[in-house]
C-alpha cells in the first residue's frame, strides 16, 4: 500500500509491502526491511528499520498519529491511496470565518481586556489566563470587532476552549 505522510512541514511518500518475510518500506529509491513490535499493551513500539533500532510511542488523535521518537513529538497525518483519491476528487478545505481566540492551555480567566462590540487590533491582548502561578496574555491574531465573549473572569477553562469570537 502506498502512503503519503504529512509530517513536520514536509510530505513524505512511501510504500509498505507485506511479504512472507515481514514488511518492507520504500521511500524514494531506498527499500528497507521494517519490523515493528508493540511492547506489551503499552503505546510503545520497537521499530527495527534496516538494522537501525528505534523506540517510538504512538498516540492516535483523530486522523493524526502522534509519534514520540527520541524525545521529539511528530504529528503525522497518514493518507493511504484511497484517501488520496478522495481528497483529489473533493474540493479545498472549508474556509474559516471569523477569528476565535481559544485557550492554549487549561487555566483560570483572570482578565478580559475587550467588550462585545469593541474593536480589536491584530496582536492585541484580549484575555489573561492564569495557570501554575503564571499569568499569560492571549492575543488575537487578526483584527476585527468582538462578537461574543464566551467566558467571564474567575472562570476555569480547558485547553482549546473558545474564549472570544472576533469578526
Amino acid at each position: 500500500m502506498k502512503y503519503q505522510v504529512e509530517i513536520a512541514d514536509e510530505t513524505i511518500e512511501l510504500e509498505v509491502e507485506k511479504t512472507d518475510e515481514g514488511a518492507k518500506v520504500t521511500v524514494g529509491d531506498e527499500t528497507q526491511p521494517a519490523d515493528l513490535v508493540r511492547i506489551g499493551r503499552s503505546p510503545i513500539y520497537s521499530l527495527i528499520l534496516g538494522d537501525r533500532s528505534f523506540e517510538v510511542s504512538v498516540h492516535r488523535r483523530d486522523k493524526i498519529y502522534q509519534i514520540v521518537l527520541d524525545g521529539a513529538t511528530y504529528d503525522a497525518r497518514v493518507m493511504d491511496e484511497r484517501a488520496l483519491r478522495l481528497a483529489a476528487a473533493g474540493g479545498a478545505d472549508e474556509e474559516v470565518r471569523g477569528e476565535v481566540v481559544k485557550a492554549p492551555m487549561p487555566g483560570i480567566v483572570v482578565g478580559i481586556a475587550v467588550e462585545v462590540g469593541g474593536t480589536v487590533e491584530p496582536g492585541q491582548g484580549v484575555v489573561t489566563l492564569e495557570a501554575m502561578k503564571m499569568e499569560n496574555e492571549l492575543k488575537s491574531a487578526a483584527g476585527g470587532v468582538v462578537k461574543e465573549i464566551k467566558v467571564e473572569v474567575g472562570q476555569g477553562v480547558t485547553q482549546g476552549e473558545d474564549l472570544v469570537v472576533i469578526e
Binding site: Y3, L14, A23, S57, V58, G71, M105, A131, K133
Partner: protein
C-alpha cells in the same frame, strides 16, 4: 530526634522530605488539598490530612490550620519545603508560639533577610560586597533621579519586599525612571502589600552563583560550596550545576567566606543559600539570602555526599553539625535540569492534564526527584515544576554526556514538558563551553532553539504508516511483520525470515 514531623508542602519536594524522614525513622504526616488526594506525597506519608480546597490560599497557605493540625496530631516539627510558607516569617512565628519546631531559620532571621533593604544593610555592616546603591526607599521622582545619577545608569529598580522578579525594572536613563518607578510600585504594592522601592546599579549580564550554607544552633557555620544558576529565563532558574565553571579555587574560598559571614550576620540557623551576582571582572556582590531549602539542593548533595534534608532535621532537633569546614569534600560535577509541565514549542505555556505514561531514567550517576506518576492529573493550581533530573560524574563534560543520555531515557506522555528544551541546552556549544551568563537562554539559546529542525521525521513517518498498515483489518494496532508475544515470553514467528540477521546465513 523528633518522633513525628509534618510536611507542609506537596509535589516533588514533599516526596523528597518524606524520603528523608523515612530514612531517619521519623513518622511523617502529609497535608493535602482537594486537588492532591491522588498525589504521590499522600501515599508516601504515614499519615495524611486534608487541609482544604485546591487554591493555595485555602489550603497550603493556611497558617492557623496547619499549625493547629500539627499540635493536635503530636507533630513536634514542621518542614515547610520551598515555596508556600517556607519563607513566611508569620508562619515561623506561629510555629514558635505553638511550641512546634519550624525546620528552618528563626522568624526573626526570615523577617530580616526577607526585607531586601534590611538585608543589604546587614551585609554592608558585615563587610560583604553589595551592589552599589539601594540604601533607602525612594518615594519621589526627584529622589529617584538624584539617586540614579549618583550611582550611574543603567540601574535596576527593586521592591524592598521583593522576590520572584516582581517589581523589578531595568532603567537605562533618567528620563525613563519616573514611569518605570510608577509601574514597579504598583506591581510591588499588589504583590507584597508594600510598595517601597529602591535603586541598585545594574550589573549587566552577570552570572548567578549561590553558596549553600548549613548552620547549627551551637554557632557552627559551614559552607558546602557553590551552585551555578545562570541558566535562567525570566528570572526562573532552569539548569543548575556545581561546581561553577566560572570560579577559581581562590574565588571560591573568598565567596565561601563571605557566605559564612552573611549567615552569621543574619543570625542564620539551619540550611540556607546566599546568592551572589558575579560580574565580568569576577567581582561578586551579595544579592539575597534564600531562607529555605532550595529547589536545586540535590546538586550540592551529589558533590558533597551529604543529605541536606536530614541535616536540616538534625539541626532543627538541636544537634551539632557532625562536620567542620575542612571535612567537606567535593567530588566531581553535578547538573540539575528542572522538568516543568510547560510546552517549549508553545512559548513555555503551562501544559496540565493527565500523565498517561511515564518512564524515568536510571543507571549510573542519575538521580530523579519527582512528584508525579502515570495516571496523575497535573493540577493547574501549583508550580509547573514536576520533576528534577540530576546527573553526577567525575568531570563536567561527563556529567553533561550523562545528562544527555538520561534525558533520552526520560519519557513523560500526555502532557508537554521541558525535556526537549534541556536536550537542546545540553547539546549547545555555549552551555558545553561553560562560557555563559544570565542572558544566555533568552539572547543566545532561544533564537537558535526556535530555528532547529527535527531530525527523525522520515523514521516517524514510516512508523506512522506501518501502524496504519497494521490497523487495516485489525481491531487494535499490534505489530507489523510479527506475531504478538507467545506464552512464556517469546515469539516464534512460523517460517519467518529476517533481513540483516543470522537467518540470512542459512540460505
Amino acid at each position: 530526634m523528633f518522633k513525628k514531623v509534618l510536611v507542609a508542602n506537596r509535589g516533588e519536594i514533599a516526596v523528597r522530605i518524606l524520603r528523608g524522614l523515612r530514612e531517619l525513622g521519623i513518622a511523617s504526616a502529609a497535608v493535602y488539598s482537594e486537588a492532591d488526594r491522588s498525589s504521590r506525597h499522600v501515599r508516601r506519608a504515614d499519615e495524611a490530612y486534608l487541609i482544604g480546597p485546591p487554591a493555595p490560599g485555602e489550603s497550603y497557605l493556611k497558617i492557623d490550620r496547619i499549625v493547629e493540625l500539627a499540635s493536635r496530631i503530636g507533630a513536634e516539627a514542621i518542614h515547610p519545603g520551598y515555596g508556600f510558607l517556607a519563607e513566611n516569617a508569620g508562619f515561623a512565628r506561629a510555629c514558635e508560639d505553638a511550641g512546634i519546631v519550624f525546620v528552618g531559620p528563626s522568624s526573626r532571621t526570615i523577617a530580616l533577610v526577607g526585607d531586601k533593604m534590611e538585608a543589604r544593610k546587614t551585609m554592608v555592616a558585615a563587610g560583604i560586597p553589595v551592589v552599589p546603591g539601594g540604601d533607602r526607599p525612594l518615594s519621589s521622582d526627584d529622589e529617584l533621579v538624584a539617586e540614579g545619577e549618583r550611582i550611574g545608569f543603567p540601574v535596576m529598580l527593586k521592591a524592598a519586599a521583593g522576590g520572584g522578579g516582581k517589581g523589578m525594572r531595568v532603567v537605562r536613563d533618567a528620563e525613563g525612571l519616573p514611569a518605570a518607578a510608577k509601574a514597579a510600585r504598583n506591581e510591588a504594592g499588589s504583590a507584597f502589600a508594600d510598595d517601597r522601592i529602591y535603586l541598585e546599579k545594574l550589573i549587566e549580564n552577570p552570572r548567578h552563583v549561590e553558596f549553600q550554607i548549613v548552620a547549627d544552633s551551637h554557632g557552627n557555620v559551614v559552607h558546602l560550596g557553590e551552585r551555578e544558576c545562570s541558566i535562567q529565563r525570566r528570572h526562573q532558574k532552569l539548569v543548575e550545576e556545581s561546581p561553577s565553571p566560572a570560579l577559581t579555587k581562590s574565588l571560591r574560598a573568598k565567596m565561601g567566606e563571605a557566605a559564612i559571614k552573611a549567615a552569621r550576620a543574619s543570625g542564620y540557623v539551619n540550611a540556607g543559600t546566599i546568592e551572589f551576582l558575579l560580574d565580568r571582572n569576577r567581582d561578586f556582590y551579595f544579592l539575597e539570602v534564600n531562607a529555605r531549602l532550595q529547589v536545586e539542593h540535590p546538586v550540592t548533595e551529589l558533590v558533597t555526599g551529604l543529605d541536606l534534608v536530614q541535616e536540616q532535621l538534625r539541626i532543627a532537633a538541636g544537634e551539632e553539625l557532625s562536620f567542620k569546614q575542612l571535612d567537606v569534600f567535593h567530588r566531581g560535577s553535578a547538573i540539575e535540569c528542572r522538568i516543568c509541565a510547560e510546552d517549549p514549542e508553545n512559548n513555555f505555556y503551562p501544559s496540565t492534564g493527565l500523565i498517561e505514561r511515564m518512564r524515568e531514567p536510571a543507571g549510573p550517576g542519575v538521580r530523579v526527584e519527582s512528584g508525579i506518576h502515570a495516571g496523575f492529573d497535573v493540577p493547574i493550581y501549583y508550580d509547573p515544576l514536576i520533576s528534577k533530573l540530576l546527573t553526577w560524574a567525575p568531570t563536567r563534560e561527563q556529567a553533561i554526556e550523562r545528562m544527555r543520555r538520561a534525558l533520552a531515557e526520560y519519557s513523560i506522555e500526555g502532557i508537554k514538558t521541558t525535556i526537549p528544551f534541556h536536550k537542546a541546552v545540553m547539546e549547545s556549544e555555549a552551555f558545553r563551553s561553560g562560557e555563559f551568563d544570565t542572558s544566555f537562554v533568552d539572547e543566545v539559546f532561544f533564537p537558535m532553539y526556535a530555528g532547529r529542525t527535527l531530525p527523525h521525521a522520515e523514521v516517524a513517518a514510516i512508523a506512522a504508516a506501518l501502524i496504519r498498515e497494521a490497523e487495516r483489518g485489525e481491531a487494535q494496532p499490534l505489530a507489523v511483520g510479527a506475531k504478538e508475544s507467545a506464552q512464556g515470553g517469546w515469539r516464534q514467528p512460523p517460517g519467518r525470515r529476517t533481513w540483516g540477521g543470522w537467518q540470512l546465513h542459512l540460505k
